[in-house]
Symmetry: C2
């Protein structure tokens, strides 16, 4: 049993923990980072990155299908086995690369399950680590149903590691993970069901665009089952899984995946010993991201913060905390406008204030059917819509985009919001022609400048 | 013979002329715009827009080919006839739409060939128009070779209207039109030759990236013939075209297209009667875009200006001139950083200062191999490179990007240059994750902030 001392200890080596580690080390601190599963955490190993790897193939298929009869001839299918190989070529080297990066930076790293002994001390199997500051960056995990047979249900990690795509699957949930996986599975040839306890798909997103997305997915064959409250899960003799709803409905498929919310990893850290308190789905933090024990911070998915739980927000929080440890006089964390994207076919991107909130504020809303704009028409995208929310001064305060390239287009609006630009300001940019950027400057806010 | 009076007359109804017309009308002027060919001009009818329509199919084919063996199974081909129909669905309504737009705005439009009578008067077949100010926006046309048999050579408009793609074609020139058409023709199944009088492909662009582009195209089968100085063009008995070079080389193909520079449409306007002078390849203008006759302006491709001849610059010049006519106290035209994109496979985008200029200024250059960045790796793009030029203070003053999505990526750098941002400033943006934008903020200028 060894005892080690560091300036700062970090529990969890996902995007948040790693960002904090590098920033603190660069600031002259001695740093240790602890991980008990995959170095790099959820995002690169079984989250946003591998998901977007798989989506590359879906996009290729979509593009060919949209242009069928418009110059592109050919039938494109997804081959799950080689697609998984493509994904694994990306994910497999991650742990090794992260370890090399930590070694090169001179950041200590320890592997194993960590629990607090007191507010400065963490216990690992075989050694004890003391640090002046701790940062909890343990992320989140899928919420379980906690019903009989729950153990038959798979999760996001299982989905992203499927050796073969089952013939028929169910996704439990109506959030972005459920929608994204449904889209991928559908393109890979599966019959897809989406069961929701309630009837709200993509809560918080623009209702018109969500309705369009649900209609598009339904037309492609996705079976949405609303108000389906699963109370038991059973397995059939041939290994299939049956969901039983409280109202008597049942659904039997080859595999069912949990995608009904995520829960901060707060419960296996013995945080009580450190005086750290839980609130909502995560750890309670103040505006400096300090927990109820001031020298212990929480960042990323495990922190209970009113911002989207995304890799960029996690990293920004981590850099903020590193800055606050290095310079405790720093002010509170300020979050810039942060885009959120549902990577479906098409993609739904949102940033800033949504229409629902805008309507309560007397803000105005401009809607654009972009399907005749060059960047969308050329690809014959079936849906391409945007909404821009403007405050009383015409400053852009929100945007929603539903289009194949919403992930890029929403970035233009994000910059505009952070710079407090009007549509006329955006039109002054001279972008490459023709591009998604130039379309926007050509069509947006016509007559305003 | 009628005589009409307007505040402002505009000759040429391309992007420049139309932008000027709408801005002046909105400013309260009576405006007439004259066109002798297609309303909308080169860009939407036989330039950048239809080219990018055709490219949609090429991109779909590229994407499937890149992901062959990585999850995408299928053989994609281009069908030129349906591809042309896709293009025509876009181009055919243009004239009618432009006329409707002019009518709705209350802008007078006249059809026919215009010639100056004096510095206020223009003659059309059947009527005479007097205006206080004239704006010349007549655009440019392909430079001819002016050798015997020159009339056997086709041009960009012919290429973009080909009923069928010939089995074997030659493009004469090494500029962006030649490269773009070569790429499209190759994807459509043609054998492609590129003949250059010199040995400089894409003059002014980053030499390393151009070399990579030429190597990629050569590997795909494009036959570059350098120092091929055509002195005669003949036709074979079966209707094929033969180029004869001064050094004895010959090249016989189904069709040969001029893509060796463009020349301002200055020579059929009788501009001498208005005191307007020619300079270089266009009309001489001062920093207010005034010709040698102060109340006559020239904008767009016909103006001899040291900026790229692009649709966005044309429109910006037109809006500037409209502003100057409405408010003569306005200062000189200021050009923002303007991105230029060669729409090949991959695309080459550049903005601001190039490496060649940077080296003479003591600026620094950062090179990025982006092929392992998520946005490129996921599509297995064979080439994805970027160079960023930084001044002594680390401010971004130029960028070159060679990648499938260079047309979008270069826009991020354009904004950064216009805002005098450093790489650290760019890293502060919170973009959607993962996207081309977030890749950039994650990888660029590592260790700088």
């Amino acid at each position: 049993m060894t005892l080690e001392h560091f300036d700062v200890g970090i529990i969890g080596a996902g995007p948040a923990g790693l960002s904090a580690a590098f920033a603190l080390k660069a600031g002259g601190k001695s740093v240790v980072i602890i991980e008990e599963y995959l170095w790099g955490g959820t995002c690169p190993n079984y989250g946003c990155d591998p998901k977007k790897m798989l989506l590359a193939a879906v996009e290729a298929k979509d593009q060919v299908e949209h242009l069928a009869g418009a110059g592109v001839v050919g039938d494109v299918k997804l081959d799950w086995t080689t697609l998984m190989r493509h994904k694994m070529a990306f994910t497999e080297p991650i742990t090794a690369r992260k370890i090399v990066g930590l070694d090169e930076a001179g950041i200590a790293h320890r592997y194993g399950h960590a629990e607090f002994v007191d507010d400065q001390t963490v216990q690992l199997p075989g050694n004890t680590i003391k640090a002046n500051n701790w940062i909890i960056a343990t992320g989140a995990r899928p919420a379980r149903l906690d019903v009989p047979g729950d153990h038959y249900l798979l999760d996001n990690e299982d989905f992203l590691n499927l050796a073969t795509m089952p013939d028929e699957i169910t996704l439990i949930g109506g959030g972005f993970i459920a929608i994204e996986f449904a889209n991928i599975a559908l393109a890979a040839g599966a019959k897809v069901h989406l069961v929701l306890k309630h009837d709200v798909v993509l809560r918080g997103f623009d209702r018109d665009m969500v309705a369009t997305m649900v209609a598009e997915m339904t037309a492609k064959g996705v079976n949405f089952q609303f108000m389906f409250d699963t109370d038991t899960v059973t397995q059939t003799a041939d290994g299939r899984v049956t969901l039983h709803a409280t109202d008597g409905r049942t659904l039997t498929v080859a595999a069912a995946f949990l995608a009904a919310g995520r829960k901060g990893n707060t419960d296996q850290l013995n945080i009580e010993a450190a005086g750290v308190q839980v609130e909502g789905n995560g750890i309670k933090v103040d505006e400096y991201l300090r927990t109820t024990t001031e020298h212990i911070y929480a960042v990323g998915d495990v922190a209970n913060l009113p911002v989207p739980k995304l890799t960029p927000t996690s990293s920004a929080e981590a850099r903020y905390v590193a800055g606050h440890i290095l310079n405790p006089a720093n002010g509170p964390m300020v979050f810039p406008a942060t885009p959120v994207v549902v990577f479906g076919s098409p993609k739904l991107g949102e940033v800033g204030i949504t229409e629902a909130v805008a309507l309560t504020q007397g803000y105005s809303i401009e809607s654009f059917d972009m399907s005749h704009w060059m960047g969308y028409y050329r690809n014959l995208e079936p849906v391409a819509q945007a909404k821009v929310i403007l405050d009383q001064q015409g400053v852009i305060v929100g945007a929603s985009v539903l289009a194949a390239h919403a992930d890029e287009l929403i970035n233009y609006f994000t910059s505009a919001i952070n710079r407090k630009q009007t549509q006329a300001d955006m039109r002054k940019e001279m972008y490459s022609y023709p591009s998604l950027g130039s379309d926007m400057t050509a069509f947006m806010g016509g007559g305003m400048d």
